[in-house]
């Protein structure tokens, strides 16, 4: 079907998207064809109901439309680097390196060096390729046992400027049973009030979204995820968000939480020590995992 179909063009008429000449054509059809006129009225009622129903979801905390509009013309704009408070030179360097190791090992972000500055408030593991599992509990259970996806996601809060890092390609970490598949591409969307970062998965189909809106609260994020707005946002920008269902049919959303910086530092130190203990060299062996 093409837009030559009057029913399709009627969508534009109802939404006020047709120019004057096109709208006039639809008006003629309405006047000449009672069934078509009835179709228009029903479509209007249908759209009004749907719009109202969807509008019950609390709006995002910022102007999404403005963000999207910006991103239409700018695929990727690195955010400006931000100064970081350094408790001490030694602490800074070790913590810095350890954080990088932890991040790389943890999330398999091969292109992490593309991120010049990051304040990662939320991380959400997700997969589009596994969407069909929503309606297949048995398959979902089977999938979760291979550690590539979990029935629940986690989020981290990490505030670091990421330096150039060694190439850890081929390595991934089974973090909280979350994701084990390496990531192979990255898209970053610069927004006035934050950054959306999307890492698309490889064979595991796992994606990670860093959702960087300072005003976003975990509660609102979860609420929007449940009600579809995040899913909608994601689906239109190459960002997939988890919306899995558990075997008992319950919709699982992410557990959005922030980790205190102190905890991140502690984990980073532990990860660094662990990595140093495993390898004398900088690059770990293939298949290395850190848990």
């Amino acid at each position: 079907m093409s837009a030559s179909d009057p029913h399709a063009r009627a969508m534009g008429f109802i939404d006020g998207e047709l120019d004057a000449a096109e709208a006039a054509e639809i008006q003629k059809l309405i006047a000449a064809d009672p069934e078509f006129a009835q179709f228009i009225e029903e479509e209007k009622a249908f759209k009004a109901g749907l719009t109202h129903k969807l509008s019950e979801v609390p709006p995002p905390t910022q102007d999404l439309r403005r963000n999207f509009q910006r991103n239409l013309n700018a695929e990727f704009t690195p955010p400006p680097a931000r100064p970081i408070v350094r408790p001490s030179q030694f602490y800074w360097r070790s913590g810095f390196a350890a954080a990088a190791v932890l991040l790389i090992a943890a999330f398999g972000l091969f292109e992490l060096k593309q991120i010049f500055s990051n304040e990662c408030l939320y991380m959400l593991a997700c997969t589009e390729e596994h969407a069909h599992l929503m309606n297949d509990p048995a398959a979902l259970t089977a999938k979760t046992t291979d550690s590539r996806i979990a029935t629940q996601s986690v989020s981290k809060s990490i505030k670091y400027q990421i330096p150039p890092v060694p190439d850890f390609s081929g390595h991934a970490l089974n973090l909280d049973g979350l994701a084990k598949a390496p990531f192979k591409s990255l898209k970053q969307y610069d927004a006035p009030d934050g950054v959306l970062v999307h890492y698309s998965g490889s064979d595991g189909g796992v994606s990670v979204v860093y959702h960087l809106w300072p005003d976003e609260t975990p509660e609102l994020f979860n609420q929007r995820l449940v009600k579809g707005q995040i899913y909608w946002l994601a689906s239109h920008h190459g960002i997939q968000v988890a919306a899995w269902k558990s075997p008992d049919g319950q919709l699982l959303t992410s557990v959005i939480s922030k980790w205190p910086l102190e905890r991140v530092l502690k984990l980073a130190e532990e990860a660094r020590a662990d990595m140093e203990g495993r390898t004398a060299e900088s690059a770990p062996a293939s298949g290395n995992e850190v848990e």
Partner: protein, 90 residues
């Protein structure tokens, strides 16, 4: 079909399930134009499709969603038989 009554009675999860049941391309267009405040032109640019295709997908999405919502309408007694399903606007 009394869409106003149906939407009023519809649970959010039921609507989400119905939306999830749509063809992905159709759902994208529907949500983008209904919820996203984007114009057809903007939406078409993001999705990299002609506006005519967008309108076609939108039409199909709305018809698919209506079909997906019919069981809920039946459950609530808002529709009694197949003849009613095509009985026109409320």
């Amino acid at each position: 079909m009394d869409w106003k009554s149906l939407y009023g009675a519809l649970l959010e999860d039921e609507l989400k399930r119905a939306l999830d049941a749509l063809d992905a391309e159709h759902r994208d267009v529907l949500l983008f134009t209904t919820l996203g405040e984007l114009t057809y032109k903007e939406c078409a640019k993001v999705l990299e499709i002609p506006i005519g295709t967008l309108m076609s997908r939108l039409y199909r999405a709305r018809q698919e969603l209506k079909t997906a919502l019919l069981p809920y309408a039946k459950e609530r007694g808002l529709i009694r038989n197949k003849a009613d399903q095509t009985g026109g606007a409320a």
